[in-house]
């Protein structure tokens, strides 16, 4: 017990130190590194948003980039000459569009077994990418430019605020509330959760919409930051792939796992880019990370720090079991 209290204080102290360092980062490093830190915060936040549904509810979303892309395009289109909406006002509009899409996609597919949901979300992102390529208002293949705002500190703090808010919300909703208990219960055994009075379809949909909306916010900031987007750069399957690997490496279903995995892999990505000038090698590293996790680290890097009384099973076992149909997923 005393040990637990001590660890809790140590953890809180570490968190405060990290937050203070992050808040002071713009005066500690140059713009080059600040850009890298901005990207790291974005990926930490995106991985966290994927983990909400994938890790806490156990539903694998292979098309999460769809929502990142909707947010990015909403901001890009609305900030264009035609509408000239101020940046901050584009974010809520993007999230509303995202939430509508999430409800339309999620309501029918979240009732199905996990594998169907995974396929449906993947197809949805592909369709959106093709759609953005062929229609006019997205700028087609050529993409779409945004009014440049060359203030690295603004974007750093925007990503920082979004990431802090994302993790705070995740902690509050999934680790500290009844809602989180319901979500984790349905992940572990859906029929039993129903038998406990939990409306699993509704809770899954709420979680899916929340995770989509968070990804959309990061998409909005990203578009304004990079000042130019195209279908591949915001809807691409590689964006979802990275989120998935970041979460698995960091620790599926844990609060800090996605932050650890997101920051670590993004730095690896940048280092490889600096030394080799392309990221083909990075893809190989992603593959290696998945194999490493599946074989030796089912609880990810975060799992190395958690003291567990036994070692029977992991969230990864549960989620893979459901995805492959060897466990209770739908009705009993």
């Amino acid at each position: 017990m005393a040990q637990t209290m001590k660890n809790r204080w140590a953890g809180l102290l570490l968190l405060v130190v990290i937050l203070v360092v992050l808040a002071l980062l713009p005066v500690l490093v140059n713009n080059y590194w600040l850009r890298i830190a901005t990207g790291a915060l974005m990926w930490a936040g995106l991985a966290c948003s994927w983990n909400m549904l994938g890790g806490y509810a156990g539903y694998i979303n292979f098309g999460h980039s769809a929502f990142f892309g909707i947010g990015a395009y909403a901001t890009a289109i609305l900030m264009g000459a035609e509408f000239a909406v101020p940046f901050l006002a584009t974010i809520p509009i993007g999230t509303i569009v995202t939430a509508l899409f999430a409800v339309v996609i999620g309501a029918p597919t979240l009732r199905l077994r996990g594998a169907y949901f995974a396929i449906a979300t993947w197809a949805f992102a592909e369709v959106l990418m093709q759609f953005a390529t062929v229609v006019d208002f997205t700028g087609g293949t050529g993409g779409i430019g945004l009014p440049p705002f060359l203030n690295e500190r603004f974007f750093y703090f925007a990503m920082f605020a979004a990431a802090v808010l994302t993790y705070f919300l995740t902690w509050l909703l999934f680790e500290r509330s009844r809602f989180g208990l319901k979500v984790k219960a349905l992940r572990d055994h859906e029929p039993a959760a129903e038998a406990m009075g939990i409306n699993t379809s509704l809770v899954k949909l709420q979680t899916f919409v929340l995770s989509a909306v968070v990804a959309s916010v990061f998409g909005s900031i990203f578009a304004y930051w990079v000042t130019f987007i195209n279908p591949k750069s915001v809807f691409g399957g590689d964006i979802t792939d990275q989120m998935v690997v970041m979460v698995l490496l960091g620790g599926l279903g844990s609060l800090w796992g996605p932050a650890i995995g997101g920051v670590a892999l993004f730095f690896v990505n940048r280092l490889i880019w600096m030394y080799y000038g392309d990221t083909a090698f990075y893809i190989a590293i992603l593959g290696a990370a998945i194999i490493l996790v599946v074989l030796f680290l089912p609880n990810g890097i975060a799992g190395l720090f958690a003291r567990r009384s036994g070692k029977s099973g992991s969230v990864l076992d549960t989620v893979l079991g459901r995805l492959l149909g060897s466990r209770q997923g739908g009705r009993s």
Partner: protein, 248 residues
Amino acid sequence: MSMTAQAPAPGDQPILFVRDVHKHFGGIQAAAGVDLEVGRGEIAGLIGPNGSGKSTLFNLVAGMETPDRGQILFDGHEIGGKKAYRIARLGLARTFQIPALFENMTVSGNLLAAAAEGHWHGAQQRADETLALLHLEPVANNRASDLSGGQQKLLEFGRVIMRQASLILLDEVTAGVHPNIRKIILEAIARLREQGTSFFVIEHDMEMVRNVCDRIIVMDSGRVVTSGAFEDIVQNSEVMQTYLGRPQ
């Protein structure tokens, strides 16, 4: 049919009322016109050979399966074909024959999750009381999947306690557990019954049936074949031989 006319008046209404319930799986008639009642405050035992449709009946009552036809009233509400979570919210709780725990959550987490929908007020305190009642305090912070088989049965039962249900369905909750654990479960049942909870229990162990059940309902091939006091059922050696196999 005059089913509704036969249904008892609200005052002395049974907590569970099942009439002419049918359910088939392909060619198997798992429920072939089930008629039964469970009274308020009663502990009714459900016995019968393997495959006679006991678990299917529980699934129909708890909303995990939809009846082909027939009537199921719980506490006066028509619940046949309703969603499981809606039936649970009316005050019905069940255990699963194969423990269906929230495996990645802690033991306390399992108890709290059971109370997360409705009855949340004071849930933490009730979880602590339930841990004490079921002797699960030492493993309160363990993952549910780290528990022994007997402890898993206890936790399965503990979640049901957390529901504060008016009717509890227990599906072979003492099957294969150590006598010490069986004793803990029996004490917990006695405690809940004092508070007015009704029980409907599937049980193979005749000792257990004799000790806890007020009345026995015997099923075979998807039908209720007889019901009555334990002694009457046991003295009827024909019933014993036909429906329970070897005398126990």
